[in-house]
């Protein structure tokens, strides 16, 4: 992917018109969208502005313009002014500040054709070494997001390490470029003080601050240094030294170079892993033909204290300008003094306040000579140490040890600011191929050099780096749960998907039909039975009337012809009541009605014809009932019981019908939902099939290089995957390749030196 290239790789491709600046910029923006949520290297970035610059660069390229950085996306630490872009120094105190001008380095980058974009996170006002002291949240190390990226230029280092840009700018006062570069595994360079104009760099400690590049290899650092260097009338501390061609001095040959190893740096408390890495590097440098000389820097122990005084004193003076009057946030007060104090109290973070107080104290009346002047004199002693040492060697070698616990941090500080106090510059690069495994704790080497002899340092760094793998690409930064999903759909997956989706739909349909059918059946049975019950109630009523009429006729006349219809009707009544009891066995109300009815029938209608006239008297209870007015009442009562039962049954029927109608509506809804679901599943399968269609074309693969032919071009597999499928690729080394590389390195290091180049 284009965002993973070095500057020299990208410019080669741009010049040959293989790719466009827009594509390169877009791939950086895509990478930011993909990983910056986790890393938070950027405080903000203006994608539209970056793409507009890329389009302008493409126009220049197509009209044949050649510039060293034409079309190269470079991101900027939030401490450098970029016209019309925000500038906050990761602090609250600058409010919504928008830079009205470009810093000199930004002018130079733009003139060289670079696409200048983004505001990179940092420790507030560059004070700190972990990028945790930011008002905009902390930045994480791309190699391991549970670790710090270093600081104060943590965003600059993390953005380059995570391939969110091709290179970035940072600033270094007491290690703010070199330490995060070490922790994030990229190349960081603090140039000699005065080499690069500080105009447009928000000042922390003016006698120590320098702007410098973060890059993916030493060559790119040399290129950027060349672009940015030079005297500037707007910075009276910039030095009128000629700017050599740094990149041209990178021959890869370090034979005969004399490199110094300060004995004071190999002190107690040094991590054994770091010491081992330094020892290994020293051995390798010797094999490559460099001479390692032990040097002594006797005032090493006083460097940190000196730095504390000088840096905080200068910071307290520089930060006095943030007072809420001309720019930035303001908290009102009753008078100007109160306004300043409130604005600064609310706007600065804890670390900045701590340094302002310390700096103000060491400069305050009665203490200036005791602290600040004294420290400046010690600074002279430290400077003399180096001048003396450099009479013996070309480049001093220091050890950096990036770790996060308090003791080691302190030691780290101890090792950091010496070079800064004497004005020498340093270049840092990753030291071990194993860094891929333990990047955030890997030992690092820092090269110190004689002032303005930046070439020697770059050469020494490049000499080692050229023989190592450049592409220490951080591990894949995707979300972990996404990793659990299959990254491609195989035919097997498709087969099971295609089979299981319709099967599931079919099963669901069957189940629904079964459910609906059962409900319909129940309803049908119920309705049929209820109609039968109603019918029988009516029939019973008719039989009761019949039985009563014949019974009355028999009682009045005694004629046998009444008896037979009576007995027939009675039989029917008993049968009907029995059947009704069975049919309504689940309805307690009807059972009660029928029980009442049966009792009344027994009391009023039943008699024994054989005994009724034996005494010539009508004696049975039934006959009495029948022949009196009370009999009529009873009959009416019987009818009303039947009528009530009939009514109740009809009410239940209509209620049941309503429920059945609702069932029908809801089962229709369910069918609809199911049909929609099946349709969606089918659409999904079709989409997947269409995507797979691409895979089923014949792909031509080069039998020798393994490259893939795509639209008439031979592409590397990763390029092909990106273009054809939009798949993001992360690079790593297989065990086999790593071993092969190690063998090659050993081969190169064998006595007799590397084989002559072809």
């Amino acid at each position: 992917m284009l965002n993973q290239l070095t500057i020299s790789e990208l410019t080669a491709k741009l010049t040959k018109r293989e790719v466009s600046a827009r594509e390169a910029t877009q791939s950086c923006l895509d990478q930011i969208a993909r990983v910056d949520g986790k890393i938070h290297a950027f405080i903000s970035h203006d994608a539209g502005d970056a793409l507009a610059q890329a389009d302008a660069a493409d126009k220049s390229i197509s009209s044949g313009v050649i510039k060293p950085l034409l079309g190269v996306p470079i991101a900027i630490k939030d401490v450098l002014a970029v016209k019309n872009q925000p500038l906050n120094c990761a602090s609250k105190i600058l409010g919504n500040y928008i830079s009205p001008y470009d810093a000199t380095v930004i002018e130079k980058l733009k003139a060289a054709g670079a696409i200048v974009f983004g505001r990179l996170n940092m420790d507030e006002f560059a004070m700190g070494s972990s990028t945790e002291n930011s008002a905009f949240g902390l930045t994480r190390n791309p190699w391991d997001i549970t670790r710090i990226p270093g600081g104060s230029s943590g965003g600059s280092a993390a953005a380059v390490a995570a391939d969110e840009c091709l290179a970035s700018l940072g600033s270094d006062t007491g290690g703010s470029i070199r330490q995060p570069a070490a922790l994030c595994g990229c190349v960081g360079l603090k140039p000699t003080y005065g080499r690069i104009s500080r105009y447009g760099l928000v000042a922390f400690a003016s006698s120590l601050d320098q702007i410098g590049p973060f890059t993916k290899d030493v060559r790119d650092a040399a290129t950027l240094l060349g672009v940015m260097s030079g005297v500037d009338p707007r910075d009276s501390t910039s030095v009128p030294e000629p700017v050599p061609n740094y990149a041209a001095s990178l021959t890869g040959d370090i034979r005969g170079m004399k490199l110094g190893l300060p004995k004071e740096y190999m002190i107690g408390g040094l991590d054994p892993e770091v010491k081992a890495a330094v020892d290994a590097a020293v051995k390798q440098l010797e094999k490559l033909g460099a001479e390692i000389v032990e040097i002594s820097l006797p005032h090493t122990d006083y460097a940190v204290a000196t730095y504390y005084i000088i840096a905080t004193a200068e910071a307290s003076a520089n930060l006095a300008r943030f007072d809420g009057i001309r720019y930035g946030a303001r908290v009102d007060g009753n008078d100007p003094i109160e306004l300043y104090a409130r604005t600064r109290g609310a706007g600065f973070g804890a670390e900045v306040k701590r340094r302002i107080i310390l700096g103000t104290y060491v400069l305050s009346s009665g203490y200036h000579d005791a602290y600040y002047l004294h420290a400046q004199k010690v600074r002279t002693l430290i400077r003399n140490d180096f001048l003396k040492a450099f009479e013996k060697v070309e480049g001093g070698r220091e050890i950096r040890r990036p770790a996060a616990d308090v003791f080691v941090r302190h030691l780290h500080h101890l090792l950091q600011p010496r070079g800064d106090l004497r004005g020498q510059h340093s270049v840092r690069f990753y030291q071990k191929p194993e860094a891929a495994h333990r990047p955030a704790t890997a030992g690092q080497a820092v090269w110190r050099g004689i002032a303005f002899e930046n070439r020697a340092r770059l050469r020494a760094g490049d000499g080692v780096a050229q023989r190592k793998s450049r592409a220490l690409t951080p591990p894949e930064l995707g979300l972990s749960f996404l990793k659990m999903l299959p990254t491609r759909i195989t035919k097997k997956v498709l087969f099971w998907l295609g089979l299981s989706l319709p099967m599931a739909a079919l099963l669901a349909m069957t189940w629904l039909v079964h459910l609906t059918g059962g409900q319909f059946n129940d309803s049908f049975n119920y309705v049929m039975q209820t109609y039968k019950v109603l019918d029988m109630f009516e029939q019973t009523q008719a039989q009761i009337v019949d039985a009563e009429a014949n019974q009355r006729g028999y009682f009045l006349t005694g004629r046998q012809e009444y008896l037979e219809p009576y007995q027939h009707a009675m039989q029917s009544i008993h049968d009907d009541i029995r059947d009704l009891k069975k049919l309504t066995s689940k309805e307690p109300a009807q059972q009660a009605n029928l029980a009442v009815l049966e009792k009344m029938v027994d009391e009023e209608l039943v008699f024994d014809p054989a005994t009724i006239f034996t005494s010539g008297q009508v004696t049975t209870n039934a006959s009495v009932v029948t022949l009196t007015e009370r009999g009529k009442e009873k009959l009416e009562h019987m009818r009303s019981v039947l009528f009530q039962a009939h009514e109740e049954q009809e009410a239940a029927l209509s209620k049941h019908q309503q429920a059945a109608e609702q069932d029908v509506v809801s089962s229709q809804m369910m069918s609809l939902v199911l049909i929609v679901a099946v349709a969606l599943a089918l659409v999904m399968v079709v989409v997947i099939l269409l995507r797979l269609e691409k895979l089923q074309e014949f792909v031509t693969v080069c039998a020798w290089t393994g490259q893939v032919k795509f639209q008439g071009q031979w592409l590397r597999l990763d390029e092909y995957l990106k273009r054809q499928f939009g798949i993001s690729v992360s690079h790593s080394l297989s065990q086999e390749a790593a071993e092969k590389m190690m063998r090659e390195i050993e081969e190169l290091n064998r006595p007799g030196g590397p084989p002559p180049a072809a």
Binding site: P100, Y327, L339, A341
Partner: protein, 95 residues
């Protein structure tokens, strides 16, 4: 290392920095111990040593006294927290 007493309230006033009582207390302790550490510089005899103000000493860097392009009034006022009539607005200074 010895701890040094420091009047944080007074220094904060010099620095025009409003601190909460908690900040004053914690800063006092932290800065006291840092100053204790810095005391070690007194071990060194610096008599006769010239101070270094800048790593690359350059003096009397001047430029030609001529008008050069600079920010317009509008651009200079763009970031002002309070402005009016082409001026920065500040609290009353004289009685």
């Amino acid at each position: 290392m010895a701890s040094v007493e420091i009047d944080v309230k007074y220094v904060a006033h010099l620095a025009r920095l409003a601190l909460t009582p908690e900040e004053e207390k914690s800063l006092g302790a932290q800065l006291g111990s840092i100053l204790g550490y810095i005391e070690k510089l007194r071990e060194l005899d610096v008599s006769g040593v010239e101070p270094t103000a800048h790593a690359v000493p350059m003096v009397n860097v001047t430029r030609a006294d001529e008008i050069r392009p600079s920010l317009s009034q509008e651009a200079a006022l763009r970031n002002a927290p309070q402005k009016g009539g082409g001026l920065f607005i500040v609290p009353k200074i004289v009685e």
